[in-house]
């Protein structure tokens, strides 16, 4: 019964995540950019822009320059999460890829790195007056959700221990649309439930920053307005203005 509920939950969550993000990204990609509004100094070539975005995505370059504390916590959290997620691949692949195996030892520690990052971010949100001012309940809850996911996961890794083999065969089954046995461990069920929730709210929340940042004209445009004319579709269709100076122009 619970295995079925979770199976449906994960199918729905995956569908909403993929379709939701896909639709949003489609919308971003097809919305016109009327003007060249790159924030300069900016690269003058496409190659330069790719490098700039690479540095932003991998190192959070702008954030590093603007706020070291947020940067440290952001890096701990995001890099911790990335490695934790990669480590999770072992639950979905058979045989486990060799590099996922390599990640196993540090992957387990990364949970603490991720937690430290999240706690740091939350502490700033609570104690730093300016950030508290700009926070809505959803901003706090998002951190609580991630903390709960990471916390319940860490509990399973280090304290209660779940039947990982059974979980893995359950998920491998879901890939083949077969619903197997899911261990009825409350911490596992919490962990999985919250992950599904995260997947569902992803496309309708600020988590869209991940795909969104690739569509921010301020960073992704090439600084070449003088060399190459930038013009959007709707601007092309504006009524033409007269060439030459109209005769009866009063001073």
């Amino acid at each position: 019964m619970i295995a079925t509920v979770y199976a449906v939950l994960f199918y729905v969550a995956t569908l909403l995540l993929v379709v939701g993000v896909g639709m949003k990204v489609w919308k971003y990609a097809t919305t016109p950019v009327p003007l060249k509004i790159v924030v300069s100094p900016a690269p003058r070539t496409r190659r330069g822009v790719v490098l700039r975005m690479f540095r932003e995505v991998i190192f959070f370059e702008s954030l590093f320059r603007s706020n070291k504390w947020i940067w440290i916590f952001a890096v701990l959290f995001h890099w911790g999460m990335l490695i934790v997620l990669l480590r999770h691949l072992r639950y979905f692949t058979q045989p486990v890829w060799w590099w996922v195996d390599l990640l196993q030892p540090i992957g387990r520690l990364m949970a603490f790195v991720m937690l430290a990052g999240l706690l740091g971010l939350w502490a700033r949100r609570i104690f730093q007056q300016r950030i508290r001012y700009i926070s809505n309940p959803s901003d706090h809850l998002m951190l609580v959700l991630l903390l709960a996911i990471a916390g319940s996961g860490t509990l399973m890794t280090y304290v209660t221990r779940t039947d990982v083999i059974a979980v893995k065969s359950y998920f491998l089954g879901l890939f083949r649309f077969q619903i197997g046995e899911l261990p009825l461990d409350p911490i596992l069920l919490t962990h999985l439930g919250l992950v599904a929730l995260l997947m569902i709210i992803f496309p309708i929340s600020k988590l869209m920053h991940a795909p969104g940042m690739f569509f921010a004209p301020s960073r992704t445009q090439v600084d070449n307005a003088r060399e190459k004319r930038h013009i959007s579709k709707w601007a092309r269709n504006l009524p033409p203005l007269p060439e030459g100076i109209p005769k009866k122009e009063e001073g």
């Binding site: 509004i37 100094p41 900016a42 954030l63 940042m213 921010a216 960073r219 001073g251």
Partner: protein, 514 residues
Amino acid sequence: MASLDMNAEGGPKFVGDPLKIPAIECGAMMDTNTFAAAPEHNEPLGFPGELLDNWQEVAIAKMGELAANNRAFKVYLDTCVKCGACTDKCHYFLGTGDPKNMPVARQDLLRSVYRRYYTFAGKYFPWLVGARDLTKDVLDEWYTYYHQCSQCRRCAVACPYGIDTAEISMAAREILDSVGVGQKYCNEIIAKLKKTGNNLGLNPKALAATLEDLEEDLEDETGIAVKIPLDVKGADILLITPSADFFAEPHIDGLLGYAKVFHSAGVSWTISSYASEAANFGMFIGSYENMREVSWRIRQAAKDLGVKRIVFGECGHAWRVAYSFLNTLAGPFDFLDQNYPIPQHILEFTLDEIESGNLKIDKSRNDEFVMTYHDSCNVARGSAMGRKEGGQFDVPRAVIKAVCNNFYDMERDTIRENTFCCGGGGGLLTDDLMDLRIKGAKPRMTALQQVSEDHGVTHMAAICAICKTQFSKVMPKFGYEMDNVMSVHQLVANAVILDGQETEAETATAEETP
């Protein structure tokens, strides 16, 4: 050196650190409002004269239209994670402590409404994501705080996603205009430009007379007939410069500098009375159509006069519109000489002349000044110069250093891409916002005071008409004289020696030897 009596004329108290973050003071600036436009200011721009009866409906529809037509607007509203990195970056927040002047909070004034009407979370769980209905109070709040943003983009540099509050401000002003709530200063000026070709409402006759006077001044000073041509058909270069260059100080001295450089370079050039304005306030109100109309005059003038090149004078936001938008708005410029950048900045022109040795320069003529340079925010973050990334920082400095012996930069976090706005940009250069302008200038002024103390800097050069006017107004509040701000081409004008010009030194020797 300037006196450091910070309490002069009731100005803000001296603080040593230009980046000092104030404690939050809610509502500190909520009563600072700029004058509203009258119907005769709004209507020529294509906006309703007064607040519409169904303003709420129209505003919400306009917001949807913007989200559909402008990717930046949509993506910026969606992607902010409220990380807070931008919260201490705005000079108006640093100067006022009003939390609604923190960039992300400024965005949120609009984002909260956008969420309410256009997002799932805001429609069904408004309390969760801070979504709110669009009420008259909200509209008023927009008017107040979107006119406390100079659209300088300092926050955009800080944001991990490049979210640019200036874009949101422009959009907000466009929504306000679309329901009949315009700002007098901007809209009146745009209406004036549409009628006369410049922001001042100067007609061609008056302009011609002014330029003749300036030619006389130049001849008195140098003994050489340097021309400032107007409406000369067939000239090579059309100079587009802010109209402030025709009458305000220290702007005029910059114009004289351009004239000397053009004269020494031996090029033929002209100003146009039809497009006698570089500034384009259409940008400040976020109106593509108005910005296009204003820009279009430049194309018309260039065609009519049959010029080969377009060069822009010193003006910050004008250069942003020119560099980044002109090709979009009024291009393609296939009828101009493609061997030169279109458009070109006067500093690019001057630096080329300096580097190719065409100018005779006596740097010591600027020895009375110890200079620093204010990177105008629109040039720094909204445009570029030269061929290399960051040229907008290096070209002006190269020119200053070529004509002047004493130069020191201000603190790194207050210059180049991190430069502070002068406090009067983005359509806020109006007397009814003087309080805001003084407070917003504080970070820049504090950085200036630092270099004054450390290196004895006496003067600050700028390349923006608005910056120059703003500084000459607010510097006295910070212990400087109004003429402590200079045009970069004023320094050039001082140092350039024209062919055949008798310098004081030569005159002196000539008198001594019998």
